[in-house]
């Protein structure tokens, strides 16, 4: 066990956050699209289900996911049936758990962005023959850059910092599911405050570079207002 060494856990954290962000930008924009543009039956119930992950304490959510994804849970059984391997305590497992627990951080900003797109340009796209799908990719997405940036920032950083859920589902296996936030937590718990500072600084730097990248991508946005 190498609790002290950073690179391993940090690399896993980064991979996890990147995977979660990519999955959630796709899944989140799909859900947000349905919620904004389509008639969804029992919309309030669907919205609440999406928001549930953040209203539960992480360790509790982790506990429920442990049961659901475990050998007795519906999801875990189905997964084992298909892939013949367990989901718990694997990298794939923590990605799935992470996707669940960050879902609202992607859906909410995207919903807000989609709702603000000028109705007229959507109508124009339809008149010009674009299907709903094509309109989504060619008009809605490029006009929601600020929303995508907000979603990416919240999901990525939250996943970097999360550990209640990940710990529970992943089991903190070094080199596989032990992420940087667990290492910081250990440092604080065992009174190695100095190590904790250093690790926190590293996480802050990662968040800083991520923001720089996102802001650079988002700068292209045509309608940022300078006053």
């Amino acid at each position: 066990m190498d609790t002290g060494s950073i690179p391993g856990p940090l690399w896993i954290s980064f991979k996890l956050a990147a995977a979660t962000t990519i999955v959630l930008l796709a899944a989140g924009s799909f859900l947000a699209y349905l919620l904004v543009y389509r008639k969804v039956p029992a919309r309030a119930v669907v919205e609440s289900l999406i928001s549930l992950p953040i209203v539960l304490p992480p360790t509790v959510l982790g506990f429920y996911l442990l049961i659901l994804m475990g050998p007795k849970g519906a999801f875990g059984r189905a997964w084992e049936g298909i892939f013949d391997s367990s989901l718990l305590f694997t990298f794939t497992g923590i990605v799935i758990a992470s996707v669940f627990s960050s879902l609202p951080f992607a859906v909410q900003p995207l919903k807000a962005a989609f709702a603000k797109i000028d109705r007229r340009i959507l109508e124009n796209a339809h008149v010009l023959g674009l299907s709903s799908l094509a309109t989504f990719f060619r008009v809605v997405v490029p006009n929601s850059a600020a929303g995508f940036a907000a979603a990416a920032i919240l999901v990525f950083l939250h996943t970097m910092g999360e550990f209640g859920v990940i710990l529970m589902v992943g089991g903190s296996i070094p080199g596989e599911t032990k992420v940087a936030s667990i290492a910081i937590f250990e440092a604080v718990e065992s009174l190695r405050y100095r190590d904790a500072w250093v690790l926190s600084l590293v996480l802050a730097l990662v968040s800083f570079s991520f923001l720089l990248v996102i802001n650079a991508l988002n700068k292209g946005e045509y309608d940022g207002i300078k006053s």
């Binding site: 000028d118 007229r120 340009i121 109508e123 124009n124 796209a125 339809h126 008149v127 010009l128 023959g129 674009l130 299907s131 709903s132 060619r138 008009v139 490029p142 006009n143 045509y222 309608d223």
Partner: protein, 250 residues
């Protein structure tokens, strides 16, 4: 291939109730006071609004039939529309806007050159002038090679010289394209020049007398070829309009 529409729809302050037909290669000009329902007619034909009752057919194809519940989605009507408050895509350059639904990029280029906006091709629509934006919207619609063309006050933001040029261009295209074109305008000269038929819409109904009233009010502005004061019956008015058209078309 003709476009036929019989439409009824309750609006805020009156009910729209019109029946129109426009054959391929012909232009139907809608005129009428502000707020009389012209834009709404185009929106219903485009499938952006649904009529309360009515049918719309394009050639053999049924687009809307409230009796049978038919409603062909906008995307499948293969039409193009120049919106009154042109809705260009802010994330694309002028050229990409024109190419947005074009099968043929060289057509887009030809159109843009013809309409005098080729030098703006790499600019975003937010940083061009109102008239330049309007021309971009017209090019975008034409580049699509539609089966039906709807234009809502397409030249309103243009100076008379440019307007004249564009009007000529559209008149030429009418012959090449052989599609029904419905066109809303406030410029009676434009209606006289472009329209094969002029349909005045007042408070949601077709009302031929409006044109007469209009002639009377604007007489002082050199628009009236002869005195229309006394006559009020529709046939006469239509005759008169016919004469006017001949004169203005030169």
């Amino acid at each position: 291939m003709a476009l036929r529409a019989e439409i009824r729809k309750k609006l805020n302050h009156f009910t729209l109730d019109v029946s129109l037909a426009c054959a391929g290669g012909r232009i139907l000009s809608l005129v009428g006071p502000s707020g009389s329902g012209k834009t709404t007619i185009l929106r219903i034909i485009a499938g952006l609004d649904a009529p309360d009752k009515g049918t719309i057919t394009c050639g053999e194809e049924s687009w809307v039939n409230t009796g049978t519940g038919t409603f062909l989605p906008t995307q499948k009507r293969r039409l193009a529309m120049v919106f009154q408050d042109f809705a260009l895509f802010p994330h694309l350059s002028v050229f990409k806007n024109v190419c947005f639904a074009a099968r043929d990029r060289s057509l887009a280029e030809t159109l843009m050159k013809r309409f005098g906006i080729w030098h703006l091709k790499d600019t975003r629509p937010q940083s061009i002038s109102g008239g330049e934006r309007q021309r971009t919207a017209i090019c975008q619609a034409l580049a699509r090679e539609p089966r039906v063309l709807l234009m809502d006050e397409p030249f309103s933001a243009l100076d008379p010289v440019t307007r004249r040029k564009l009007r000529m261009a559209v008149a030429e295209m009418k012959r090449e394209l052989e599609i029904p074109i419905i066109h809303v305008t406030h410029d009676i000269r434009e209606a006289l020049f472009l329209g094969d038929e002029i349909v005045p819409v007042v408070s949601g109904k077709i009302f031929h007398k409006w044109l007469l009233q209009f002639m009377l009010t604007t007489r002082g502005e050199g628009l009236c070829p002869s005195d229309l004061t006394a006559r009020e019956d529709q046939e006469d008015i239509e005759l008169e309009i016919y004469d006017m058209r001949k004169e203005y078309k030169r």
